[in-house]
């Protein structure tokens, strides 16, 4: 996915992708966000996640490490925080070519609902979506998803939703589990739980 660099609006490390989505929506950003994971343990799935926005509403997602687009790309960039985040502003015309690729598209509320786990933000994002994106149209055939869903349903067998794609990534899940086990063992010492386990 090729995009002009645009004007850098913000560059910082964030823990939670929600911050980015709120920021983009509040600014009514037309442009894109680049998520670069900072966590060495999860860097096996290296690469960057890119989400584009039109007037603050997410339009397409792509991951450079896995070369996946659409909802699976959201899963690829999930759970790998903290992120180095950069937000860029672009002219709407610069995004047209990328926004025309239906397989890259994500439903307006999906990132907020499934990536950030924030239904209220998802509702706010869907409300801000233009009328030409009704009912979270997604998928190669433009399948319609119920407006309340924001994910998964209606994408059929052809394209799994972000949560499914996350669960399909056994390596990433194992990395999360391994990291939690290491943390738990480390804290058992710290907290004096070692005799309990």
């Amino acid at each position: 996915m090729k995009l002009p660099e645009g004007r850098l609006l913000r560059s910082r490390v964030v823990e939670d992708p929600r911050t980015v989505l709120v920021d983009a929506l509040d600014r009514e950003l037309t442009g894109y966000a680049v998520f670069e994971p900072q966590d060495a343990l999860l860097l096996e799935a290296s690469g960057r996640g890119v989400v584009t926005f039109r007037a603050g509403v997410p339009v397409v997602a792509y991951h450079t490490g896995t070369d996946r687009a659409g909802p699976p790309a959201l899963a690829d960039l999930a759970a790998a925080g903290p992120f180095r985040l950069r937000l860029f502003a672009l002219a709407p015309a610069d995004l047209e070519a990328v926004h025309d690729r239906s397989t890259f598209r994500i439903p307006p509320g999906m990132a907020a609902e499934r990536l950030a786990g924030d239904p209220a933000l998802a509702d706010r994002t869907r409300a801000a979506a233009p009328p030409d994106r009704p009912a979270d149209a997604v998928g190669p055939a433009g399948d319609s998803v119920g407006a309340a869903d924001g994910d998964d349903g209606g994408t059929g067998e052809r394209q799994p939703g972000a949560v499914e794609a996350f669960l399909d990534d056994a390596e990433k899940i194992e990395a999360i589990r391994e990291q939690a086990r290491a943390e738990a063992a480390e804290r058992a010492d710290e907290w004096g739980f070692d005799d309990v386990a």
Binding site: R114, L115, G117, D151, G161, V163, I173, R177, A184, A185
Partner: protein
Amino acid sequence: MVEAFAVASGKGGTGKTTSTLALGMALSEEYDVTVVDADMGMANLLFHAGLAEVETTLHDVLVAGGAPVAAAVYERHGMDVVPCGTNLADFEAADPARLREVVATLAADTDVLLLDSAATLSSRAAVLPVVLADRVVVVLEPTIPALSDGLKVQEYAASYGTETAGILFNKVRDADAIERIAPKAERYFEGPTLATVPASDRVRAARRNGRPLLAHAPESEPARAYREAAATLTVRDGDSGAVADRFRSAVLPESP
């Protein structure tokens, strides 16, 4: 017999307290159930159970020379409920390590102990209920952060010798998607999907009314789902005395 379950999620807002009380009420049709608000830093069970005005709470039991456990036990909706106060100074004065003695005492006289746990894994007090429980019920939402945090809870629990009894999907908005998501999640969790609970305004209304969901809207879809979860959960026979001894002998440091 007694089995202690920690109801945990690792992430806030998944509806743990609603789930704890709902599971408790559903299980109380068959068992003697005691519900404890073990989320000592951010207690809210008292609001859900209509106990906001009570005098004695878990905090009063956990301070040095504090009240006996029995003084903080309230019979509500067919269960014994032990609420926790919301005063931060009380929380700071309380010694979470005393929780094991509280749990041991309660275990002697009940079939099922449900510990409503903190929505974080970042402190000893927060993790303690997961350590003390026999098994953990992981409350999830069908979102990536909730699943990711739920997996962390499971790993912490397993590291401290606590098994996973099952997972519970809460606030489900898309029935079709959950049918695909739940089986995939089950690959990574040690227990079965106990139920998928639909998102519903009835849950919020119950909370506003200070009543557990199963008392406020017993015929609602989410209430039905919780009853299904309770029926799926097989409570194991544990010897009450042995369980109490285990809690008492759990080796924990003396101060936070």
